[in-house]
Every structure is written in C-alpha cells, then in structure tokens.
C-alpha cells in the first residue's frame, strides 16, 4: 500500500467512528432530544465492547455488548430528560460525566491490552483496481454497513411514516400528540437508537479502528459527532460528508509526520478541535438559516400541557 492509499483508506476508517455516532445523534435530535451524552455513551460502550471482544475473541459479540451498553446509558438520559422532564443540556452533561466514570471502571483491568483487528472484506474485482481498490474496497464490513445505514436513515427520515413521526415530534410535539403519536414513546425510541449507534461507534473505535483499550481513548470524538450534526444542518448527506472530512482531519498528525513536517505534534493533535470550532463558526454565522434547519422543538421538554 502506498502512503496516499494508506491515508485515504485510513480516512474512511476514521470517518466511520464519527459517522456512526453522528447518525445516532441525528435521529435523537430529529425527535427533539438534544443528547449531549454521546461522549459518555461512546466511552462506556468502547470499554464494554473491548472487554467483551477481548474475553470472547469475537468482534460480533463485542459490538452486541457495546450496542447494549450504549442503549442502557441512553435509557438513563431518556428517563431523566423525557419522563422526568429535566433540562436536556444538563441531563446530557450528567450522563456524559457518569459515562466517563463508568467507562474507566469497566475497562480498568484491561488498560493497554489489545485485541486482534477484525479482518477486512476484499470485494472481488473492485479491490484489485489500482489506487481505488485499496482505498475504497478493502475495508472492514462495518465501514460499508455504516454507509448503507446512513443512506437508509436519510431515506427513512424523508419518505417513510416512521420518519414523518420522528420529525413531527421534533418539530411540533403538541401537534404530533394531537395527531395520535405518542411523543414520549417516539422520543424514547429515537434516544435509544442514538444510544445503540453511539455504542457501535464506541465498539468500532476500541476494537477495529484502534484495537486497544486506554482510558479516555474516545478523546472528544463523541462531541465532534454532536458538532457534525450541526455542520450537516440535520441532513444525512452533509453529515456523511462532514464525517469523512473529520476522518481526514483526525489523520493530520500521521500525514504531517510522514511528510516530515516540522510542526509540533500537539498542534496537529489540536487540529480536529480547531477545525470543529472554525467550521462551527462558519456554519452558525447565518443564524436564521441554522434555525430553519434545526428541529423546531429541539431541546424542549414535553410535559403534555398546552402552554408553558
């Protein structure tokens, strides 16, 4: 594999972590639930997924356990923010803090251990094409499944009854309730879906992308996923694009090192965070446009009463 192939292929792999988490958050936010606990959900499931993979040797079991862990943590958020009507921002932060603690607790006996990386699929014929083959067609199956799911989610949100239900709950919960949708039920479902995908993102990060466990390894990627939903203005296509852009940015350190650039490594490590801030500022400048795309009732609790 040449260097350029290596980086482009690495981008696809790195992007998958962001994309999985951002897709989950997209669904939650579309239903009106701003879940800022993504980082915590990812951390718990990365630990749980790693431990499960390490102990069983099966990546599939690792993903299942991680998905389950993500769901459990998301249910804590859902219970407090939906049933108990607590402030969504504060609840997300609480779940994030809880998740980071739990993650360290779960992974403490596996610190610095590694698992075998999962094998990659080699798509016949296509993977033999020079340059494009290694870059696009020799990845872990999860990379392709994630892309396929992203397309499916985009379609579902736009064209199906379920998508309509999720969107209407996020735009106008009172009207949605009047139409016969159960606002709490749909929001629970959306948040749990977000937990499941944050779980997959965590498992991908700790068992496939970098198959080792180190406390704090999620390192802000959950927060970048939250930012990606804003960058993508709640549109699936743009979120995919954003995830790939950030996949590339997060490899900046490797790229610069291989080019022999004399830049402090700390500057390169900061790059994803700096880019997040810059892109966020650019996207947000047009406040009116951002508001137009954001789910109207995003961040608002729904207690069933007509006026507040």
């Amino acid at each position: 594999m040449t260097t350029i192939e290596f980086f482009l292929a690495g981008t696809m792999s790195a992007a998958t972590v962001f994309l999985l988490a951002a897709l989950g958050e997209l669904i939650a936010e579309k239903s009106g639930m701003l879940n800022l606990g993504v980082e915590g959900m990812m951390a718990v499931s990365a630990a749980a997924g790693f431990v499960a993979t390490y102990e069983t040797g099966s990546h599939l079991i690792g993903f299942a356990v991680a998905g389950f862990a993500g769901i459990i943590v998301s249910l804590v958020y859902a219970t407090v923010a939906i049933t108990f009507l607590a402030n969504q921002v504060a609840t997300g932060l609480a779940v994030g803090i809880l998740g980071l603690g739990l993650s360290a607790l779960i992974g403490r006996k596996h610190e610095s251990l590694t698992v075998a990386s999962a094998g990659n699929v080699h798509i016949p014929m296509l993977s033999d094409i020079p340059l494009l083959g290694p870059v696009l067609f020799q990845h872990n199956i999860v990379v392709y499944l994630t892309l396929a799911t992203a397309v499916a989610i985009g379609y579902c949100l736009k064209y199906t009854r379920l998508g309509l239900a999720i969107r209407s709950v996020g735009e106008n919960p009172h009207a949605a309730q009047a139409l016969g949708y159960s606002v709490p039920l749909i929001r629970y479902g959306a948040v749990v879906f977000g937990g499941l995908f944050a779980g997959f993102a965590g498992a991908y990060a700790s068992t496939i992308y970098t198959p080792l466990w180190a406390d704090g390894m999620i390192a802000g990627r959950g927060w970048i996923a939250v930012a990606l939903v804003v960058f993508g203005t709640w549109k699936t296509g743009r979120i995919i694009l954003g995830a790939y852009l950030f996949g590339m940015v997060s490899l900046g350190e490797l790229i610069a090192q291989s080019l022999g650039a004399a830049v402090p490594s700390q500057l390169l490590s900061s790059l994803p965070y700096i880019v997040t801030i810059v892109v966020l500022a650019i996207i947000s400048t047009n406040a009116a446009r951002l508001k137009l795309h954001a789910p109207f009732a995003l961040g608002e609790s729904y207690d069933g009463s007509e006026s507040r």
Binding site: A86, A219, S269, D303
Partner: protein
C-alpha cells in the same frame, strides 16, 4: 390508570429542601449496588468516603484545599447557567490561567520580588478570561454554540500545556519529566498551618462567593425567580443584553477558573505539570447544580464534593476501590439531582380512566 406529571402553580419549598437529601441517598444506594458487584466492601467504602476524611487534622485541611477551587469555579458557572450560558470549558480556562500565571516564575527563576504573586494572580485571571473570551466572541459574533466551543477549547488548552511542558518550559534539570521548574517560595501562597498544603489562597473563593452573592441579591432581590424554575431568558438577564449576558457569564467564569488554576500552581503543586486541574472544571458543573445554582447551596455542595474526593483517595487505599468510582458517584449525584428536582415544579398525578378528561379541563 395513568401516571402523569402536572405542573405545580407554585414551586414546593419542602421538596426543594428534600432534593439534596434524596439525591445523596439514591446515589449512595446505587453506588452500593455497584460496589457489591465489584466485590468491594460497602460499609468500609462508605466509611472511607464520608467519615475518614474528618479523622485527622491534615485530612481536614486537604478537604478545604479541594473546597477552594470547586467553590470558586462553581459560583461563577452558576451565574452563567442561570442565564442559560452553557460554559462547560472551565477546565480549559483553569489550565490557561495556570499556564499564564506560571509564565512569571518560569521566566523569572531568580526573582524574589514581593510582586511575583500579585503578577501571577493578575496573569492567572487574565489567562482564564482570555480563553473564555474566545468562546464569548465566537458566540456573539458568529453564533457558534458555546457548549461545543468551550469543550473544544479545553482540548486545545491541554495540548498547549503539553507543548510547553515537553518543549520550551520543560525543567532542564527535571530528568526529562514533562514539568516546569519548581517555583520559588516567593511565587507561592503561604501555608496556613505548618506541615499542611492548605494556604492563604482559600481567601479568594470566599471573597468571590460574597461578591457574587451580593451582586445577585442586588440584581434580582433574591432568588425566588430562579427557584421557581422561571429562569429569565438571556435577553433580559440581570438587565444585560443577550450579548452582555454571554460576555459577562463567560468572562466571570474565565476569571474564576483562571484564579483557581493559578492557585493550584502557586499552591499545592508549586510547578506547572500535566495534572494541574484535578478535574475541578468538570466537578464544578456538578457542584453548581447540586447547590441549586444558589451561592449558599453551592458552598454546601462544594464542601460535599471536596469530602468525597478526599474520601475517594482514602477508599482507594483502604477498600481497594478504583478512583473512577468517585467519578461515577459524581455522575450519579447529578443524574439523580436532575430527576428529583422535577418534583419541585411538578407533582405526580395518578389519573384513573374517566377522571382523565375532567382533570385535563381543570388544569
């Protein structure tokens, strides 16, 4: 049968006072279950957490050492949270305060001037405020969400700290450890008692608390508004414009966090190193909420969290409980606080079929 939350006409004062008790009770209950699963002794852990920190004088001074920065940062964050300015990057502002303050002893290694400490105080405050100002500027000028910006800025601040410690500010005699020179005595606060680390910097959080309290009382004539859950929106907050609320909240937090960072490097740590914040910036978020965003409540909450942080260190040795258990406990506190706080503004109504309709009309 149908159970539903119904908004109270007026908030319940009784519930408000019960919230911290129930929160702590539930957190202890759940962590006991977790400890049992981990195979640790629950009574021994609880003893280590809540009683052992008070067993000797040194340990008590250590509680106050942790109490200081938690109190200082939480008081400032609470002012912002009331205005719905979500600064969750106090950790980064604290780092930048510590970095800016450290510039003085790092570059003036030989100096024994009495102005060292005042200069560090000023730079510490400015460092924190400068870092927070980036978020305020991006929020007011570009409408960039301050939650994400302050968080990203924390990650960047950490990288700046690492850069300095591995590069220009590394102690040449430090055996290649990522840390600065040890600061001279003139750059350090004086210990309050011989042989303890608690020092005169404890006066800063106390003065700051009094100032915030007076300011808030004057602006609002008390705290009835917020306690009732009717937090004023940012636009009318304390008579500030929306932009003014963002700027003042963030600058105040930067000021406090910067001073907290300065107090760490000019106090117990006595040099710049990788772990200067001890996570105070994040814990202070919990303190602010647990104290109901009220100056008095925050004093109790800061003390409580300081106790369990010391208790966590004790439990690590006595009951072999991992230090992350303290973080889990803090997370549980905030989760249960938010859930139980709902009962301040809502009551549970149990509707039986048929009664549902009439109840709806009357509300």
């Amino acid at each position: 049968m149908h159970i539903k939350f119904e908004r109270r006409i007026e908030y319940s004062k009784k519930v408000l006072l019960a919230v911290p008790v129930i929160t702590i009770g539930l957190s202890i209950l759940v962590s006991s279950i977790l400890l049992t699963i981990l195979g640790k002794s629950v009574p021994l852990t609880m003893y280590s957490f809540f009683i052992a920190p008070f067993e000797n004088f040194y340990s008590i001074t250590e509680i106050f050492l942790k109490f200081g920065p938690l109190l200082l940062i939480a008081q400032a964050l609470a002012v912002g949270f009331r205005a719905k300015v979500w600064n969750i990057g106090a950790e980064g502002q604290m780092i930048m305060g510590a970095v800016a303050a450290s510039a003085v002893p790092v570059y003036l290694v030989e100096s024994t001037s009495i102005f060292l400490l005042p200069a560090m105080l000023a730079l510490g405050a400015l460092g924190g405020m400068g870092w927070a100002a980036i978020a305020a500027f991006l929020r007011t000028r570009f409408n960039a969400n301050e939650i994400l910006v302050t968080l990203m800025l924390t990650s960047i601040a950490l990288q700046i700290l690492y850069y300095l410690l591995l590069g220009p500010w590394k102690d040449p005699m430090g055996f290649n450890f990522p840390q600065s020179v040890m600061f001279q005595d003139e750059a350090l606060f004086t210990p309050l008692f011989q042989g303890t680390r608690l020092n005169t910097s404890i006066i800063i959080p106390i003065l700051f608390t009094i100032a915030v309290w007076i300011f808030m009382e004057k602006r609002f004539g008390g705290f009835k508004l917020e306690v009732g859950g009717l937090a004023p929106n940012a636009a009318t907050y304390a008579g500030f414009s929306a932009k003014g609320a963002v700027w003042s909240s963030l600058l105040l937090a930067g000021f406090a966090a910067g001073l907290a960072g300065m107090s760490e490097v000019a106090g117990p740590i006595a040099q710049l190193q990788r772990s200067i914040t001890s996570g105070y910036g994040y814990s202070a978020i919990i303190v602010a909420y647990l104290g109901a965003l009220h100056p008095l409540g925050i004093i109790f909450a800061a003390f409580f969290l300081a106790v369990i942080q010391i208790g966590g260190d004790v439990a690590l040795v006595s009951a072999d409980v991992p230090i992350s258990a303290v973080h889990v406990f803090q997370g549980l506190l905030l989760v249960f606080y938010l859930a139980t706080y709902t009962f301040v503004n809502y009551r549970l109504r149990i509707h039986r079929p048929g009664v549902l309709q009439s109840a709806k009309v009357s509300s």
